[in-house]
């Protein structure tokens, strides 16, 4: 077997990204990086901060004004009440928030229940913490719904927390209000912490509704909830995210944040204030664009006869490629090499998902159309 095929998880993705860079005409339907640039008023605020706030010093938990803006946002969007002074910690993007959340809630031997497929970095972070992943498998035929009864069956005496990513990455399912209620009740009943990832909460389609577990009775005191500006404001390069949660646990999160990176760029923090408190029409524009592109992708997949879980939210679709009889890493490699289209293999997210591909709709529509045309050619040749 070639060295290329031995890579797994995150390393596999980076290997594919590196190859994609070598093609001038590549169409990237892999990485979760929106094609839109950061809205101009946010860049202008950053420029202003560079001149007037270049030497501001913030505590490791973040600028008070930003924490207030975050508290107002999670109240407005997620219906979570938090005290900005003690229940918000600013992070270097959603990724650091994820890492901190796992480190704060789990230690050696602690079990985390993870509905799968899920974002691969949770497993990486859990491994760093010495925790144990307990996977609860879901199926595309059920739009990747994590049945609370199945989750209940996975709980053991070592279970300490439940991971709820909604909309999910890569499966793009949204946990329904009824299921979320049942999962929060389950966490209360078994005294589990909840790690909630709301990063795609502004991108929910059709009649689906996003619910934050911390907004439900019994949820807030046991939930750490992360979010970031990367996806909603097209600010992936700014590295600005946050965690909200109960003050006692957030004090520990702040200590861990100081130990890991000491703080967050002051310029990104000022840009974050502008994003959260300024005009939101760019977010609405992007959400509308993603909704159109999603339809376009699903139509193309239907045309190819591919099965998938209907993306109820997020910015991608997780499609089944079992009909090819090939491993997803090999399929992704061939699509890239032969058609110069980068899609992520399901095996990078979970070893159980070797027959899936994740495709994003984070490209201009004309590129997306061309990417899907090439993908159709690639699929026909497999």
């Amino acid at each position: 077997m070639s060295k290329k095929k031995q890579a797994a998880g995150t390393n596999l993705l980076y290997q594919l990204i590196a190859e994609a860079r070598t093609y001038d005409d590549v169409i990237v339907m892999g990485r979760g990086d929106p094609d839109f640039d950061t809205p101009a008023h946010i860049v202008a605020a950053a420029k202003h901060a560079m001149i007037h706030h270049q030497a501001d010093v913030a505590p490791a938990a973040g600028l008070p004004a930003l924490r207030e803006a975050i508290a107002a946002r999670v109240k407005r969007v997620n219906n979570i009440d938090v005290d900005p002074a003690s229940e918000v910690v600013v992070t270097n993007g959603g990724q650091e928030a994820l890492f901190l959340m796992v480190l704060a809630a789990l230690g050696e031997g602690d079990e985390l229940i993870v509905p799968e497929p899920n974002y691969n970095t949770y497993a990486d972070s859990l491994a760093f913490a010495g925790g144990v992943k307990v996977a609860v498998q879901t199926a595309h035929e059920a739009d990747f719904r994590a049945d609370p009864a199945v989750v209940r069956a996975a709980i053991t005496e070592k279970t300490r927390a439940l991971l709820l990513v909604s909309p999910n990455n890569p499966a793009a399912n949204v946990i329904s209000p009824a299921d979320m209620r049942a999962l929060v009740d389950l966490a209360s009943e078994h005294d589990l912490m909840i790690l909630a990832d709301d990063i795609y909460d502004l991108f929910v389609y059709d009649d689906f509704v996003h619910t934050s577990p911390a907004s439900l009775p019994g949820g807030k005191e046991r939930s750490l909830t992360l979010n970031a500006l990367s996806k909603a404001y097209s600010m992936t390069g700014w590295r600005l995210g946050w965690i909200v949660g109960p003050a006692d646990l957030m004090a520990r999160v702040a200590e861990l944040k100081a130990a890991i990176s000491g703080g967050t760029s002051i310029i990104s923090q000022h840009a974050g204030i502008a994003a959260l408190t300024g005009p939101q029409d760019a977010v609405d524009m992007m959400a509308a664009a993603y909704a159109r592109r999603r339809r376009l992708v699903l139509d193309a997949l239907d045309e190819m006869g591919m099965q998938y879980g209907v993306p109820q939210g997020g910015q991608f679709v997780f499609a089944n490629i079992a009909f090819t009889g090939m491993d997803s890493a090999e399929v992704a490699q061939r699509i890239l090499s032969e058609q110069h289209v980068l899609a992520y293999p399901g095996s990078a997210f979970s070893k159980e998902r070797k027959d899936y591909l994740r495709m994003t709709f984070l490209q201009p529509e004309e590129q997306l159309v061309e990417g899907l045309r090439r993908m159709k050619l690639a699929m026909a040749s497999l």
Partner: protein, 364 residues
């Protein structure tokens, strides 16, 4: 009903004393803030222009995990010129400030060794980084006469007893004391003799007259050099640091960086890139200014009979100061870094700046 799970979790965190150690501020808030890690100088407008140009041209997306190529190249070039190393871009990992560099080196390089030898006096960020995931630590006692650096004998003893990874600051983040060229050469010899390695914090080296010897120059294949990019340039709150290390060490740290942050802020990286082109321009002028202010402070301290720790970096000084002396500093409105947080009792660390003389006066 209170959550038992959360109660146990909080108890576990509370028992980890290393995480509770306070860190000094990243950069000075004002002229009387002498306790921060970095002095404040207004940013050169070309640095701002570099960052703005990048943002306005659409550099608002993810960039490569180890850092933008041009900045890695610039950092390698600067390190090579300052230290006599021969690093390439592939040897450089850009980090979100120095603390992330400490964390990555200690946790990821540290994981390849059974033990890590650390000075009993060092920047509190070291203990915090060690506290996240406990490593087996060998304490390297320090000597006050050496500015709170571990002596070569202590280093030799640790290596002789089986410790194969050292964490050393030169200059010290508390006193500014630095190992001499001969001492660095002896440390390099000891590493070679024991097939050992080192994490070498050299972020303050640029403030030492005539430069400061880097272990990386003599033991490049066994040293990870960490520091800010660049200390005192005005980017303290923008958080840009770097790790220079052999490529087989960079690879796992890069993976961990991906796991915990994906990449470093693009605005900060482009600002640091612009800074790399002008960092030499103002350096001598700032260094000269610091040298004069420090000499005046030392003279005043000597006149007042204050006990000073030896130090070589011109950006700070450390003094013996009991509780009463600290109260006087506080009354004078001076912020300082407490030696206890570094592991040194009855010592205060002061930045060199316009208010340092006032602080010395208060201590007298």
């Amino acid at each position: 009903m209170a959550s038992q799970t959360k109660t146990k979790l909080l108890a576990r965190h509370a028992a980890n004393a290393a995480l509770n150690i306070p860190l000094p501020g990243i950069a000075m808030r004002d002229a009387h803030d002498l306790g921060a890690d970095e002095p404040f100088y207004p940013l050169d407008e070309r640095i701002i222009a570099g960052a703005v140009e990048a943002l306005e041209s659409g550099q608002t997306h993810y960039v490569d995990v180890p850092g933008i190529a041009a900045l890695r190249e610039a950092i390698a070039k600067h390190l090579n010129a300052a230290c006599g190393t021969s690093w390439q871009s592939a040897n450089i990992l850009v980090t979100a400030g120095l603390q992330e560099a400490r964390f990555l080196t200690i946790q990821i390089i540290g994981a390849q060794f059974e033990q890590i030898g650390v000075p009993t006096v060092a920047h509190p960020g070291l203990q915090k980084a060690l506290g996240v995931r406990r490593r087996q630590v060998v304490s390297l006692p320090v000597e006050t006469e050496l500015g709170c650096l571990p002596s070569l004998d202590e280093i030799a003893a640790a290596l002789k007893n089986g410790c194969r990874l050292l964490y050393l600051e030169s200059p010290s983040r508390l006193s500014g004391a630095a190992y001499t060229q001969n001492q660095v050469a002896r440390i390099a010899d000891m590493l070679a003799q024991h097939d050992a390695a080192a994490i070498w914090d050299q972020g303050l080296a640029r403030w030492v007259d005539e430069g400061c010897s880097s272990l990386a120059a003599l033991a490049e294949g066994a040293t990870a050099a960490i520091g800010e990019a660049w200390h005192g340039i005005g980017l303290g709150s923008w958080l840009v640091g770097s790790i220079a290390a052999p490529t087989d060490w960079i690879a796992p740290m890069q993976s961990q960086k991906q796991i915990m942050a994906i990449c470093t802020s693009t605005a900060s990286q482009y600002a640091a890139l612009a800074a790399s082109e002008i960092v030499g321009e103002t350096h001598q002028q700032r260094l000269g200014q610091m040298r004069r202010q420090r000499a005046a402070a030392l003279a005043m301290a000597s006149e007042l009979g204050l006990d000073l720790l030896p130090g070589a970096a011109n950006n700070l000084l450390a003094l013996q100061a009991d509780a009463a002396a600290r109260e006087r500093l506080a009354e004078a409105g001076i912020d300082f870094a407490a030696g206890e947080d570094f592991g040194a009792r009855d010592i205060v660390r002061l930045n060199i700046g316009a208010a340092t003389a006032t602080a010395i006066e208060a201590l007298g």
